[in-house]
Amino acid sequence: MQHRNRLLGGGIVLGVLILGVWFVIQQMRPPVLNGTAFDPGRTPPDVVMESTRGGEMRLSDLRGKYVVLFFGYTHCPDVCPTTMLKLRNMMAQLSPEEAEQVQVVFVSVDPERDTIERLKGFVESYNPSFIGLRGTPDALAQLATPLGIYYADQSQGETILFDHTASVLLIDPDGNLKLLWAPTLTAEEMAADLKALLR
């Protein structure tokens, strides 16, 4: 009887140990993310732009936070509002503590028509915490091109239209490019990535 009890006790201890090791391995494994990972160590160019918060801003001013970067234009009828609503819904799924560590930044690919006032009204209508950046055409090219962001003015007459990359970029708190979120991803999938990275 005593022998049986000892065996049972040993079995429980072994079971707890196995569970513990499994738990530690799970914690150490990098999370499976919905976004596409960038090669480690790539940083975005540090370009000075005008900010909707007033004054000038560089992406490096936001070190310490995850930066969610999207390029678009305020006259955009479909893709930009769709993405901005998605980013707003993504933020809404984060806890206040998580949201504190995330900064959404919208960079205008149409600095000529997007005045800083217009840009401010646009980004803040989705979430007052969102920042809009407006650079000179040169500054915009310096930032966008190395990131693989394409944009081209295709306006026809009075109809303002741009072709532009609709993917969203995620920069980690050290300023490294972390993930590329394809336009097909949902707010839930992007929020899940942020939650996994912030864990």
């Binding site: 006032e117 217009r118 109809t159 532009h164």
Partner: protein, 159 residues
């Protein structure tokens, strides 16, 4: 007392069923038309302020052709905008969104449904005449080559 008016019930139900869905001779339907909010912004400073719209407006809907011949959406008319254009968003392999005006309109094949949805076909509303708030609604007329005009109520939604 109520029983006296019961015969009206099917008629009322039939009429209420038409709300929000435009039909023309029963062949082409425009269902679930919706739009997004657009705010007005005061631009400029010191008395030079000018009212501008934050973004262009948009209409999404589902077009159903119940007939046995192909039809074509030619244009969309609405009093809330100076101009309404039919566009299509398409994404290439690199995630670049291209906005393609559809000056010839959009074909709606027989017995098929053509969705106007985010990331696809949509009606772009330029020079909006007023702000659009969530819960507002406005009328828009979808003009088809064969079925003619189909007027629907467009709901402004936050989605």
């Amino acid at each position: 007392m109520l029983r006296k008016w019961l015969w009206l019930l099917p008629l009322v139900l039939l009429m209420s069923g038409c709300t929000g869905t435009g039909q023309s001779e029963g062949r082409v339907e425009v269902r679930d038309a919706w739009s997004r909010p657009v705010q007005q912004m005061a631009m400029g400073q010191d008395g030079e302020s000018e009212i501008e719209m934050g973004t262009p407006g948009v209409i999404f809907a589902t077009i159903v052709n119940r007939g046995d011949t192909t039809d074509r959406l030619l244009r969309v008319e609405t009093a809330v905008a100076e101009r309404a254009e039919i566009h299509r968003t398409a994404f290439d392999a690199n995630g670049v969104a291209k906005m393609m005006p559809q000056p010839e309109g959009v074909e709606v094949p027989a017995s098929e449904t053509v969705p106007f949805e985010p990331g696809g076909y949509h009606v772009m509303l330029m020079e909006l005449q007023r702000a659009l708030k969530v819960g507002d609604s406005f009328e828009a007329t979808f003009v088809f080559e064969k079925a003619g005009p189909v007027t629907v109520t467009v709901e402004v939604r936050d989605q």
